[in-house]
Structure formats: structure tokens, C-alpha cells
Amino acid sequence: MPIATDDRYNTLEKSMKKLGYDKSGLIEILHTAQETFGYLSIDTLKFIAQRLKLPYSKVYGVATFYNFFRLKPKGRHNVVVCLGTACYIKGSNKILEKIEERFGIKAGETTSDEALSLLTARCFGSCSLAPVMVCDDVIKGKVSLENPLCEIEEIIK
């Protein structure tokens, strides 16, 4: 969609204006952009670079440096498996393998029908509930090692 007719660019413009087009607000702006668009496309990054008068290389560099930013669109549903220490020693890598096997995708990928994106995280700080996964922004604690798939089948139905 061309920038001029896309409302979401207005939202982004407003948030930049609020920060006075301050270059140091780049990370906040990238957060807003990801919330608004769901991910950071090359066009969005170029738009931000132009408006904040920053080189595109700098914006691209920051967007790819931090784990939180996604440069690819995500699926309609998303599952994030925590690979923090507490989850790891309770077998979260096995949970991840099972999900990868069942849906035929690797961590960081989206299924071809765009139904599901599989992501990993470093730690949600919910270690008491280990192993943890987050299905569509809802934390699921003490995920069973035997069958971690029911929850996922449920949300993508």
C-alpha cells in the first residue's frame, strides 16, 4: 500500500512528532512501528530513517541488533517457546523440537499457510512456571513434555 494512503504511517508520524523527531528515540519508534505493522518492513525502516534524518544503515543496524524486532511478517497465531535456563533444564528444547517436527518449521519461521509463527525467547521472568510457552500473548506454564501440542492445535483451529 502506498505510504500516503496508509493510516498506519500517520500513527507512526504522530509518535515521532511526540518525541520531537529526536534521533535518540529511534528504539521507541521501532517499538511503535512493530506494534502498528506487526513487523518492520524495509519500507517502514526507510520511512523512519528519512523522517528522523538518520542514515538507513543506522536504522537497519539497530533493528537487526535487537532480538525483539522482527523483519518478517508473522503468522495469524504465534507461539513463543522460552529457552531460559529454568525452562531449558526442564526440557524446553524438547518441546521446541516437537513443535518444529509437527508443523514442519524451524524456530523463527512461519508455516506456509501463515497460520502459525514459531519463535523463541530468552526468558519471560516466569521461571517458577517452567517450562513456559506463550501462545498468542497468553503465558502457558508447566507445559507438558509429553504433549505440548494440544494448546497450539487449540489456538490455530
Binding site: G25, I27, H31, K58, N67, F68, G125
Partner: protein, 452 residues
């Protein structure tokens, strides 16, 4: 607006009356050994106050320390009190907070900054999250006192984007405090101004390092830089800056109100006060545990934590996250403080304690942390960028049982090189999990060697 101690006390007593009329339900029964063995200073209010209501914080003695400092104490006296308390940085470094404040207070500059490090990046640690979510005003109060002591009028809280609730609670707290005049211009008619802003992290472990965190607040990649110049001279935007961890700042209000000597009387000679630990892993009672420094690991694991779950045998406890190490059973009577953990080959770190049972392979645990450091290495310096990847691949050989004796020598040598030549704390501590597991569980490495 609240402009004096009297007005603060009025708000407090009115709210206390309200609370008596409408008592809040406290979700958890706190009479079990899990709670009775703890001593809560940082977590004093956790679960007991409404984090969304500034008046409830005030009713529990909140902001009294700030008003006391502004009313009765000079900045120098505040620093003196913190020095007497011997409070040390709770982010893991253990640098004396009073000295840090003093060095910034002595620098002459029109603009200084206070930064609160809420980028709790260690996997398996969630102490700061609990403080920010359940008692956000405590953090603001600590920052304002630090600002007064050091002559700073602007504070930033750097919070992980993975903690949306913490961000929400802190934002609300800042709004409420500003509305009551507890933050802003001329606080309590003292002539002291202080405002606080939140900056979001975006998931980079290296941003726990002070100079990298500052680069991130300035809107760039989180690359650390060489020190000196130290932050006390050249911090955020080149100005003198104090950077304290959430838990450190949460200790400030109790120190000011009860006195430094009171705080010093808790804990051990070298490490005063309490420490909050996040107890997780193969253990019956998981959760946040606040104990005086000097408590033994055995007490924490078996008395508070209830021992290893599923009737399995204890093997090791991992402290300090990817920068720390694994402590075996024969050292469980170690009294927890900065020095003793260091002597055991681990570190205090931010407070994650992960209990590992006998079903786990220690080489795999070491590989897990090394892989973490390899992917979180910022790439600026070669020893860390290349070294952590090489070490991960070497550890893979041990796990596949295809390592040689030469590999074992190389592994040990490379650990020393990465440790001594990396630019920042991430690389300098990355080999710790490998070194400590070699020290205590060497047989598991030897089992991976095939050319005997």
C-alpha cells in the same frame, strides 16, 4: 499536591483508615517455612500493597525517606548514610553504592543523570520484575533520593520490552507521583527538581553492561565501550551518570528511614543487607526468596526451597546466570555473599539460583550458557565474538563424545584467553560456566574424550 512531611502523613493516616475499613485480601498464606525463613526488606511490600495506588504506598511509609532526605539532610549526609550502610550493587558487580554516588556528586556539571537498570537479562532471574511490578514507587523513590544526593535532576528507567506489565506499572506510578508533586519541580519546597522517563530495551543481553545500556538509551546498537572514562565522568550523552540496579535502588528508602547502621547490622561483614534470589529449576518451592547475606545455600535450597523435586538427588546449583558458575553439593554450607561465591568459582550475579538434579549433564549446561553468550555477543570485539562460538563448537565435541585430549587442553586455554582479552563483562565472564563445571565435574568432560 503534597509539599511537606505533615501532608504526607495526613494522606498516609487517611489511607490507613480506609484500608482498615476495606481490608484487601492477601492471596497467599504466608505462614509456611518458605516465608518464615525469609527476611524481606526489598520485597517488604510485595503483594501487600496495591501497586496502582500511590496512596497505598504512602500508607505503608512510602516517600517518607525522600521527604526526610529533602527536609533534614544535606546531599552529603545522604551519601554518608548510604556509605555507612555499606550497600553494594545488587546487579552483580557488588560495587559500593555510596562510593559510586560520591564520585558523581563531586563532579561539577550542569547536567547529571540517574539511570535505573531494569534490563533483567539473565535467563532464570525475575527479582527486578517483581519489584517493578509490585512496588514501582519504591524504585522511583530510590531514584529521586539518588538524584538529590548526586545533584542530578533527570532519571531514566531502562526496562526490558519483555516486561510489559512492569512498563505499565512504572508509567502509572510516574504519572501519579508527578500529579502529587512528588516528582517534578521544586519537590516539597526544597528547590530540588527531578523527573523520570522510561526507555524500553529490545532484547539484548549485552545491554546489562553499563556502557552498552547507555548506547541503547541514546538510540543506538548496544555496543559497550572501553572504560575509562567511567560513567561518573562521561556517561549518558557524555554527562556524569549514576547507574544502579532496580534492587539496589529499592534498598535506598529503608536505609534512609532506618539509618545506615541498621542496614549494616544485617548480613555479613563484607556484604550487608539482604539479597533477593529467584529460586527455580528442579526444586519443590520455586519463587522469590529474600534472605540476609550469609545465609547458607543449604538453608535456601532445603529449608526454604523444600529440597529437590520428584525425590531426585541434588547435583549442583547454578548462580549468576551466563556469567556465573555451578556449585556442587559439598560446598552447600557456603555462606552466600559476594566474596564466598566468587571463591567457589561462581558470582553473586543478579540473583538467579537454578537447582540442577542428577538427571542433568553438566557439559550440556555449560554448552547452553556458551551458546547463549555466542548469540548475545554484540560482535564488537574479536575474543568474545569468535571465542564464544569456538567454545560452543568445542563443547559440542564433548557432548558427541568425539573430543580429544588436545581439545580439552584447547578448551581450557581458550577460556582463559576469552576471559582475559574481551572488551566487556559479557566476554570476560562467558567462560565461567565452563571453568566451574570443569573444576567440579571434570569426569563428565573426560567422559566425552575418545582417544584414551
Amino acid at each position: 499536591m503534597i509539599t511537606s512531611i505533615q501532608e504526607l502523613q495526613e494522606v498516609a493516616s487517611k489511607k490507613r483508615e480506609d484500608n482498615e475499613k476495606n481490608p484487601r485480601e492477601i492471596g497467599v498464606e504466608r505462614s509456611s517455612a518458605f516465608y518464615t525463613k525469609q527476611r524481606r526488606i526489598v520485597l517488604q511490600n510485595e503483594g501487600l500493597i496495591d501497586p496502582d495506588d500511590i496512596e497505598d504506598y504512602i500508607a505503608h511509609g512510602g516517600y517518607m525517606s525522600l521527604f526526610k532526605a529533602l527536609d533534614e539532610m544535606s546531599p552529603k549526609e545522604v551519601i554518608e548514610e548510604v556509605k555507612i550502610s555499606a550497600l553494594r550493587g545488587r546487579g552483580g558487580g557488588g560495587y559500593p553504592t555510596g562510593l559510586k554516588w560520591e564520585s558523581v556528586s563531586k563532579v561539577i556539571s550542569e547536567q547529571k543523570y540517574i539511570i535505573c537498570n531494569g534490563d533483567e537479562g539473565d535467563p532464570g532471574a525475575f527479582m527486578d520484575r517483581a519489584v517493578m511490578e509490585s512496588d514501582p514507587h519504591r524504585v522511583l523513590e530510590g531514584m529521586a533520593i539518588a538524584g538529590y544526593a548526586c545533584g542530578a535532576n533527570k532519571g531514566y528507567i531502562y526496562v526490558r520490552a519483555e516486561y510489559p506489565i512492569a512498563v505499565e506499572k512504572l508509567n502509572r506510578a510516574i504519572k501519579q507521583a508527578t500529579k502529587l508533586g512528588i516528582l517534578g519541580e521544586n519537590i516539597a519546597h526544597s528547590g530540588f527538581n527531578f523527573t523520570i522517563e522510561i526507555r524500553l530495551g529490545a532484547g539484548a543481553f549485552v545491554c546489562g553492561e553499563a556502557t552498552a545500556l547507555i548506547a541503547s538509551i541514546e538510540g543506538g546498537r548496544g555496543h559497550p565501550r572501553q572504560k575509562p572514562p567511567h560513567l561518573s565522568d562521561h556517561g549518558l550523552w557524555g554527562k556524569p551518570t549514576v547507574l544502579n540496579n532496580v534492587e539496589t535502588l529499592a534498598n535506598i528508602a529503608p536505609i534512609i528511614i532506618n539509618g545506615g547502621a541498621w542496614f549494616k547490622s544485617i548480613g555479613t561483614e563484607s556484604s550487608s543487607g539482604t539479597k533477593v534470589f529467584a529460586l527455580t529449576g528442579h526444586i519443590k518451592n520455586t519463587g522469590l526468596v529474600e534472605v540476609p547475606m550469609g545465609t547458607t545455600l543449604r538453608e535456601i535450597i532445603f529449608e526454604i526451597g523444600g529440597g529437590v523435586e520428584d525425590g531426585r538427588k541434588f547435583k549442583a546449583i547454578q548462580s549468576g546466570g551466563p556469567s556465573g558458575g555451578c556449585i556442587p553439593e559439598h560446598l552447600l554450607d557456603l555462606q552466600v555473599d559476594y566474596e564466598s561465591l566468587k571463591s567457589a568459582g561462581s558470582i553473586m550475579g543478579s540473583g538467579g539460583l537454578i537447582v540442577i538434579d542428577d538427571s542433568s549433564n553438566m557439559v550440556e549446561i555449560a554448552r547452553y550458557f556458551m551458546d547463549f553468550c555466542a548469540s548475545e555477543s554484540c560482535g564488537k570485539c574479536t575474543p568474545c565474538r569468535v571465542g564464544t562460538t569456538e567454545l560452543t563448537q568445542l563443547l559440542d565435541k564433548f557432548i558427541a563424545k568425539k573430543a580429544t585430549k588436545k581439545d580439552f587442553e584447547l578448551l581450557k586455554e581458550m577460556c582463559v584467553v576469552v576471559k582475559s582479552t574481551s572488551l566487556c563483562g559479557l566476554g570476560q565472564t562467558a567462560p565461567n560456566p565452563v571453568l566451574s563445571t570443569i573444576r567440579y565435574f571434570e569426569d563428565e568432560y573426560l567422559a566425552g574424550i575418545c582417544d584414551d
